[in-house]
Symmetry: C2
Subunit: 164 residues, 2 copies
């Protein structure tokens, strides 16, 4: 990881093989955390107030979708990116909030590498396409994300004909 020694890097681009899956652990937001995030970033009534939430399309107080993404990122960083040669991501091509996240739900994140290719313009960098799935304790999918990320290569290409 940039700014760190490389001693802790377990996963370079070459180690992230298409088809491989990883368990990235669980996180359990409290009611207070859900309200604190929403108060700052997404103050819609169904994220803040029980009565308003009960009368809303969601039926009960639930987390901001951006809070759900932020919790997934926390698991990703702690349980994967910190051990990798990650160089960040240009974005996501698909982000779906499938079910509301409720207070004290236990959210379980997994990711799967679905594609990989060298980066032509940077011989020491490779691209990886990843799918993330986060399920709650009932087995319901709550979040799906998909996109490309950049990782430093263990062995830079000397001559690389692939496209970016």
């Amino acid at each position: 990881m940039a700014g760190h020694t490389t001693d802790h890097i377990l996963y370079y681009w070459e180690d992230l093989l298409p088809g491989s899956e990883r368990d990235l652990g669980t996180i359990t937001p409290t009611r207070e955390e859900i309200i604190a995030f929403a108060s700052q970033f997404d103050p819609q009534p169904f994220h803040l107030d029980d009565a308003a939430a009960k009368a809303s399309v969601f039926g009960s107080l639930c987390a901001s979708g951006w809070h759900t993404c932020a919790m997934a990122m926390r698991l990703m960083v702690t349980n994967f990116l910190h051990q990798s040669s990650s160089l960040g991501s240009p974005g996501l091509e698909n982000l779906q909030w499938k079910k509301p996240v409720l207070p004290n739900d236990t959210l379980h994140l997994k990711h799967k590498i679905i594609d990989s290719r060298p980066m032509r313009s940077k011989p020491d960098v490779g691209l990886v396409r990843t799918e993330w799935h986060m399920h709650n304790q009932h087995g319901d999918l709550v979040l799906h994300m998909e996109g490309w990320s950049m990782f430093r290569r263990r062995h830079p290409a000397s001559n690389n004909a692939s496209s970016d």
Copy 2:
């Protein structure tokens, strides 16, 4: 908005016409806010520490991409959704972090309605496809998002042949 009286609703589905644009205001994250968000949700060194950030691909301390999204959401809620009949969003089809967000950047959000259609399964709901662009004070695009959202209709359809 669900759970509120409808007195404050200025924008129903019918009012969100393709081609219309809205200025959703500005937000300026401090260094302390950037570090606080990253400490909780995205503790990568380039979001937390100046020396690590300087040695990273970013070159200086910058906000988590998820913090940038959360700030855009805050502007969206305060300056638009609170005055609308919003029923939430199933997700985004495109999310791009185009440039790093630095401490004390002034971020300016605009959105544009690019498509609109009724929702067949729910005669009182319509769908709107929106593009969001957030620029910094130098005019650089920092965030682009695109996706569908649901809004309650002012006049429910009596007979609607459009698809979902």
